[in-house]
Amino acid sequence: ARPSAMAAPGAAAGGGSSRSGATEWGGFEDNMQGGGSAVIDMENMDDTSGSSFEDMGEMHQRMKEEEEEEAAEGEAGAAEEEDGEFLGMKGLRGQLGRQVADQMWQVGKRQASRAFSLYANIDILRPYFDVEPVQVRARLLESMIPVKMINFPQKIAGELYGPLMLVFTLVAILLHGMKTSDTIIREGTLMGTAIGTCFGYWLGVSSFIYFLAYLCNAQITMVQMLSLLGYGLFGHCITLFVTYNIHFHSLFYIFWLVVGGLSTLRMVAVLVSRTVGHTQRLILCGTLAALHMLFLLYLHFAYHKVVEGILDTLEGPNMPPFQRVARDIPVVSNAVLNTTAKAVALTL
């Protein structure tokens, strides 16, 4: 509760006392009895001590105005003088007000720092990082194995270390892919795009599926969803790691179906085991499967180097047309840009 925030818009009274900037709040403390202590010496109190906050506000405002007007003059001498004047002018009505306002400030500061240490405390996340390396490895392998039993709810470990590391690994692999394909990012940076894509997918799709799960009455919490989708990215990591280095499109399709499919099946099976009702299961799992598989497709084709020579010899004529678009031959794109610019300039 900063007193200045409650300053009355009333004009600064009198303005006779000159105040230099150095006194600010510190100067008042010297003058107040007991410094910051809670003891108020009633001898010096005036009992017309209402509206002390307006007083504080006015004083603060006056101080600010005079800071702007004056350069620092003899601070020490002026301080004593003006405090004496001040006392004479306002009476000591302000004394109690100042003490109270100071205490309010202290209390407010203490509350704010307590709230900060409560919410900015990373210990909130500590239970989600409580894993052993063996467990992480086991979960990574399990994420590729679809469960058979979908009639009773499967356990999902609510752990965030594995998913977080997998997302960072995906970022690193994506960077590698972008570099080797010489992707040119116009609005932004390479690193920013990679981080944005991966984290955006992980957090965004998790939230979306969690929302759908809420609609479809599935038994899953947000942390579990984050964990499930995070481990599902393991398949993506493997696929992209292999296919960014070995540029066979048929190989990519095989990996997409097999590896991507397996991890999607696992996620779908776990979700199905936690949902009741055919329509709900269909909606939830269809959405998740579509998004997961399409994301892998997107990651591959958006950042993949088109190796024209190899493709010609291996793929033959039955390649889908858009793959033939050389993403980034600077000469061609520059030429296109130049001709377009010239055409636009001519028409204008």
Binding site: I122, P133, Y161, F168, A172, L175, M191, P330
Partner: protein, 217 residues
């Protein structure tokens, strides 16, 4: 206190003297008052501390000097020099394929913060700034690698130079990771060392990747 039983103070002798105990008369406060020394001394002292830590990184023995007196000057200097050296390497200079200065800076500091948070969440006993200090100083081998790469690239950009650069960068990457692991892994419970080492590995991998794929215009 038996000896004081018969001490009496007569009324007409004024009691005088200092009631405040001079605090720290025996503590080396005078040594720490460094305001009066010449600027050169201050700078040289800091430079020597930074230099000593560089030596510790290059020969990572298990010493606690890096951890005890942490400072962030070294990491700052290394980060800025690495980011400067990574400038100007891009396919098209306008819309670039190379990292901007701000990008490298942010990657290094953001990555170091994430690793520190991770190690704290896993139960580490090291403090935030100590960890930042260690991770920053261990970028030194990679900065040396960057320097070597730039010199090699001056000579030409063929396959041989690529192989040389690859070898140098991989060696320095291994050195960085080992050095930082030597300092940081001790602060973890013993069965979770791998969990802490992996993000460090990723972090230096990304930086090494940026160095290796640097091609000057």
């Amino acid at each position: 206190f038996a000896g004081l039983a018969d001490v009496s103070i007569s009324e007409d002798i004024p009691v005088e003297g200092e009631i405040t105990v001079p605090v720290g008369s025996r503590s080396p406060d005078e040594d720490y008052s460094t305001l009066d020394e010449p600027v050169r001394d201050t700078i040289m002292r800091d430079l020597k501390a930074v230099g000593k830590k560089f030596v510790h990184v290059m020969y990572p023995k298990k010493s606690s000097a890096l951890l005890r007196d942490w400072d962030l000057w070294g990491p700052l200097v290394l980060c800025v020099s690495l980011a400067l050296m990574l400038q100007g390497g891009s396919a098209d200079s306008k819309d670039d394929g190379g990292p901007q200065f701000a990008e490298v800076f942010v990657i290094i500091w953001f990555g170091a913060v994430v690793i520190t948070l991770n190690s704290k969440l896993l139960g580490g006993t090291i403090s935030f700034f100590q960890s930042l200090c260690v991770l920053g100083y261990c970028v030194l081998p990679l900065t040396v690698a960057m320097l070597v790469c730039r010199l090699v690239l001056l000579a030409g950009a063929g396959t041989v130079s690529f192989i040389v650069r690859l070898v140098v960068v991989v060696a320095m990457f291994g050195w960085s990771t080992l050095a930082s692991t030597a300092f940081l892994a001790d602060s973890q419970p013993p069965n979770r060392k791998a969990l802490v080492v992996y993000p460090i590995f990723l972090f230096y991998f990304v930086i090494s990747w940026m160095i290796l794929t640097f091609t000057p215009q």
